[in-house]
Structure formats: C-alpha cells, structure tokens
Symmetry: C2
Subunit: 413 residues, 2 copies
C-alpha cells in the first residue's frame, strides 16, 4: 500500500477515506471527483513501473524520452542511451517529425532506431517509415495519454520549434534543448517559453546549446545556486570561427583557412552561415539571458563583406581570395601590438556583443587553438581571476552527452 499512497501523494491527490483488508490483497479509497483521473493514472503508472523496472521503489520512476528531430545528434543520443544496457532509467519511447511519429511505450529498440535513422538519411519522413501520420499536437497528445512516465521532449532540430514546445509543456513534458532557436528569438518569445514552463510546472534544460558537452550552463547554475552573482560571461563559442581565425593569425590566407574549415567538416557547406557570426551570437544571447538580459537578439559582426553576402555560393568561393590581403594586414597590425584576432561573444545582464576582437596573444583567449571553445565566468567571487572552461565545443557525441546530462538531471530531481 505504500506504493499506492506514495503515487497518489506525488500527484497531489488527497485521499478522503480508505478501506483495506488485512489480507493486503485489495484496497479501496475515496478521492474527490475532480481528482479521479489523476488518481487512476498515478496508481496505474506506479504499478506499471514496478512491473517494468523490476520492483524499483516508487521514488525512481523511468524517464521516457521523445526525440524531436533525428539527425546525427539524435542518433548519437539514442546510441548512448541504448549502450547503457538497461542500467538506465531513461529510454526513448518516441520520435517525432513534421510528418508524424513512431511510438512504443516499452521503448524503441536500438535496431528500430537504427532503421529509422537509415530511412531518414534517405530522405524519408517518419510517417513513411512505419510511423503514424499526425500533426505535432495530435502526436504529443497521443503519446502523453499513454501512461508515459516523466515524459521529456528532446529538441535536436535546428528549426523554429517554439509552438511545438509550448504544446509539449501543456501536455506535461519537460524539455531538453540542443536547438538554440527557441531560446534565441525575441525577448518576448523567450519569456513566454519560460512562463509556459512555470505555469505547467515543467522544466527546461539546454546545456548542449552552448559548448556542446562542456559544462557551461550547469556551471552557471551552480554558481548562482551557491549565492554567487555572475557579472559577465565571455567566450569563443564557434569552433569554425576559432579555427579560421587561429589559422589566419598563424599566417594562413583567409580563403585557405575557410576552405580547410569546410573540407574538415567544421563549417557548413556554405561557410558564410558560420562567418556571419549569427550562430555565435545566438549562444551569446542564451548566456546573456541567463544573466537576466531581457532585450532583443544582438546584431552579430559579419566577417563576410556586404557585397559577397547574397551572391551564389560558387561565386562566393571564387571571390573569397579577394579578401586575403585585407585579412593579412589586419593580422599584421594586431601582431605588431602582440595581439591576435578572435571572434568573441560577451554577455552581461545589459546586453550581448558578438564581434571580431584583438586580444593579447598570451591571454587565455589568445592561447586558444583550432576549434576549441572557451567560456569565462567573471563573478562576484571569481572577479580578479575568472573561472574558465575550455574544450571542443562541437561534435555529435559530446553534444549528445550534454543532452544526456540534462535528461539525467531531470530524472534525478
């Protein structure tokens, strides 16, 4: 009976009267009319869990993950979860795309996820891969109604998913985002998302949006939880821009550095997406909003001159070497002062900048090489000397690890 009443209590269901035989084989209780559905769901869930989880205590329920998007990161995450071999309380029960969804309340097997991934690689949508055709609202409602335990929606798309996230919060999902866009729109849309989560009693985590698996958002949270005040966060949060600028500072022509970044897969096929600084600025905005910044997204400094921003990609790639001489002299001017060029985002509660900066060559940012990210926290307690985290800030495996840490945090608390 402990499990029954614990489940009811966790659901806020108040028991008015109870009758139980000393055989312990049956129990009856009375609840208010409005709480009947919740009570039934809670008790049902508690005992379904006990069946699947092998007699776990009701304090350790499973966390059921619904994947929104299923690209490289989603697959790495599904693999990392599957590799835990049942030792985990977390499993993927559904995947969702714009066509529909696949759902199995017992968890999607690794094989099933792999086949879905292969199908998606060939351009198919989930509705055509054995899934059910449905709009997102319908899909979420269906999944949520099927006794899903601690449902968590993981957004690994790079799309404008705010509407869908609002729906998910309303259906009782916690959210884990690797997708920056829902957090990097207008101040109003950001506040609306947080307010919707608060109203629904749900939580949002997004470690993987900045620095992939590096513990950036988590470190901020820990600083705040311990009563520190974070004054500013500065960083190099674009591996592509880091690679290009450290190559250029070492004497490589700009065009060659950009070409290498594309060849090595660091940059998008159209490298102007990275060179625009927009992605770095989004990360800076997410950090500034952690510090209380309530304003609009910043205008990022674009490393592509206006004349080359809208020409077709082949034209851009042909003409990019025309920029080499200007970059060479910029680098030389900085070097004469003992400086190097880096693309830096700086976030405070008052705003965020994303810009090309000259920094001392022997400073922590100046000493960065290649695609490594760096994030520096200046706080009331870490004021003279900041707390700095550096490491690779991209890659499917480490991004998935950042997401997994968020899921586990939600599962544990």
């Amino acid at each position: 009976s402990a499990r029954v009443f614990s489940a009811l209590a966790a659901g806020g269901v108040n028991v008015i009267a109870i009758a139980q035989g000393s055989s312990e084989l049956n129990i009856s209780f009375v609840v208010e009319g409005g709480q009947t559905a919740e009570a039934a769901r809670r008790v049902h869930a508690a005992f379904q869990l006990s069946k699947i989880g092998g007699g776990r205590s009701p304090e350790a329920p499973r966390t059921d993950v619904v994947l929104l998007g299923f690209g490289r990161v989603g697959r790495a995450l599904a693999d990392q979860l599957a590799a835990r071999n049942g030792g985990s309380r977390v499993r993927v029960v559904a995947a969702l795309d714009r066509s529909g969804y696949v759902f199995d309340p017992r968890g999607l097997s690794r094989q099933r996820l792999l086949r879905l991934a292969q199908g998606k690689d060939q351009g198919a949508l989930l509705a055509a891969l054995g899934g059910r055709k449905a709009g997102a609202a319908e899909a979420l409602a269906f999944i949520a109604s099927h006794a899903v335990s601690r449902p968590t929606l993981v957004d690994v798309t790079a799309e404008e998913t705010a509407d869908l996230l609002h729906l998910a919060l309303g259906q009782g999902f916690d959210l884990v985002l690797a997708n920056k866009k829902p957090l990097a729109g207008s101040g109003q849309s950001y506040q609306a998302l947080l307010a919707a989560a608060a109203a629904a009693g749900r939580r949002i985590r997004y470690e993987a949006t900045v620095g992939a698996g590096l513990p950036i958002i988590d470190t901020h949270l820990k600083l705040v939880e311990s009563g520190d005040r974070v004054l500013r966060i500065d960083g190099c949060v674009s591996g592509t821009l880091g690679y290009v600028l450290s190559s250029v500072s070492e004497g490589k022509p700009f065009s060659g550095a950009v070409g290498e970044a594309v060849d090595k897969g660091y940059a998008e096929p159209d490298p102007r997406e990275d060179l625009s600084g927009r992605d770095a600025a989004r990360k800076g905005l997410i950090l500034a909003r952690l510090l209380g910044y309530a304003g609009s997204p910043p205008a990022a400094e674009d490393l592509v001159p206006p004349a080359l921003r809208r020409v077709p990609l082949p034209d851009f790639l042909r003409r990019i070497s025309s920029l080499d001489e200007e970059w060479r002299s910029r680098v030389a001017r900085a070097a004469a002062r003992g400086h190097v060029l880096r693309y830096v985002v700086s976030a405070t509660s008052r705003g965020v900048r994303a810009h090309l900066a000259e920094v001392p060559a022997d400073s922590p940012i100046g000493a960065l090489r290649g695609t490594r990210n760096l994030v520096s926290f200046t706080t009331r307690r870490y004021r003279a000397e900041p707390l700095v985290i550096t490491g690779p800030g991209a890659g499917a495996q480490v991004t998935a690890a950042g997401i997994l840490n968020d899921i586990q945090y939600l599962a544990a608390t």
Copy 2:
C-alpha cells in the same frame, strides 16, 4: 492524508490496514511491529516540516547541516547559508568539535554562529561556548535522534576524521567533505568509507577537496554519467606551487618567490608544507581514486632538499636562498627548450604522480599564471582535445561555495 502516506512510503513503511473518517480529522493505520518507530518518526517529521516550511510539499524536506570544524571555511559556509534568507531548504542545526557540540533543531541563527566563530578565534572550544560537553559519538547520536531532517555532516577540518565519519554514516548522515585526509589515506581506509556509506544507504560528496569551488568532481561525475570513460586527469592543483613556479619561471629567485607566497597568505607559515607537494599529491590521489585507482598514496616529489626538511623554520628561511642558483639554472635549461617548470599531478586508474615537470611554455599548463589551478580531463570522447577547467583553486568563499553545491545536490536528489 496524502502527506501521511507519502511520508510512510518514503520510509519504506508498509501500511497493513487503515481507518479514516470522512471528516478527515483523524486517521488510524496498522503497521508491522518492527516498523512502528520508523512510521512514527516519518509522520512526525512530515508534519513538523509542514509547520516550519509553511506548507511545503512533502517532496521538499529541509536539509539540516551539522558542521564539523568551524574555521574560515565553516564560517563562510554558514554566512552563505544565512544570506539565503530563508529561501533555502538548508540550515545549520549544529556545530561539533572535539570538546562537544551546540545544537538547535530550529537552526542556529547567524548571530549565534558569529559569536561561536569569535569564541573559536580566541581559542575556546564549543563546550565552553554554551555548548554541551560530549564525545563525538554521543553528540552525533543525540543530534540524529532529535528529528533532524536529511541530516548532513560537513567536514571542514583538516584532520584525520575517518572514525567520526563512520559514526556519522551509521547515524544516518550524508557526508560533504572539504577535508581531503579521510579520502587520501590507505586504499583500504578509502574503500572502507565508501563501503560504510553504501551499507548505510548514505552519500558522500567532496567537490571542495580539489580546486575549491571549481566544478572538478562534478564534471567527472557528469562525464561518467553520460557514458564517457575518463582516461586521465592532469592538473596543477596547488595555488602555492603554481605561484612559486610561475614566478621562478619569470626570473624571480626561488627564495623571493617563496617569501612572497608566504607574505601574501598563499603558503602556510612554514612553506615547506606546500613545497613538499604532499597536499597536491592528496588531490591527485582523490582524482585517481575517482578513476578506479585502488592503491596507496603516491610519494610526492618534495621541492625541499633532504638537508633542509627537518631544520627549524627560521633556519630554513635563512638558508633557502642557497637554493636560488640551482633553480635559476633549472629554469634556464627548460627555457632553452621553450619550456617552463610546473608542479603537475597526473592521475589514471593505474596510479598517480605528483612531480615537477617541464611543459611547453605555450601549452595550457605552461600558460598558467599565479595561483590559478588547472584540471584537464582526457576521456574517450575528449581524447584529442581535453576538457579543461581553470580558475582560482583556493579561498574560503569559493571553497564554501563548492561545499554548498554539494549540500544542494544532496538536498535535491
């Protein structure tokens, strides 16, 4: 009634039969004889909590902290907790030293803690400061028996406290350590402490033992939780040795660098304690044990030559300049190869080294200046490029913050 049964369920108490009137003013239930005490304690605690916490849900119990030791760090912690102004579920209910204890189940006020701190500063023991005279076992048993919610013992001493920690685990305390010694003894004593915690169903956290408030142990935990495998941890974990060696590498005489470290309060009054590398080696050992190392403490490389290790402090300080010439030529030999000297600890599952190392001047460790710490994680996923955390690794405020994060982790999970 939800609260009653939730409390019982959380205590693993099984209810055999229940009778409740529809007035909801009284409720009776039957439990097994052996569970009577636990049931009474649980129900009592649940309603006492509701009185103190103002109707909080039974899922958010208070965490009651007992401070073992009350020096600079203990006071900073008490201040940080008090500064949270009741917004926190954590409070200090007792302080303990070798003379006895002070205890107030409603929480010790900031004023009371301040007066205790002043008394301790003047050399008094707690038994003489309005406390109760008692041995540690008696004190812990008394405190544990007085309806303490989620009791947590925080060890901020620098003493051999293993016996007392075992007692506390037996009395139901979770442990938070800033004290390295109980974790840095023989492999057997370390394993015994972990085994005692497991047997008692209690937890041990010790973020502040390495890097003070820097998120070192927590980052390791997150890497492991996400399924990564940490292959090695390298670091500069002594602010004093970092200060001395970066000064020496910049051309300062060894004796002058050591003198400055003492004057600035970085080093102990007898700087040989720091120069011995013993404290750095303890931190390295704690990191190696995280990686599965089961062996003995390492022999640290001592920067003080044998002839000066046992002479009285004034003799040592007079003769230290005799070492300057040897250090000057060491630094020059390293510089000729583009290297600088640093005191590095390296931890793997197979062992731990604590030694003076030559590292490239433009490497992350070579670029460290002053007292900053650096800890570098090389893992299966962060293999070519490690995950690196740097920042100040000492100081009462940041050490207390590391402890507070541990307490909050225990309170939240």
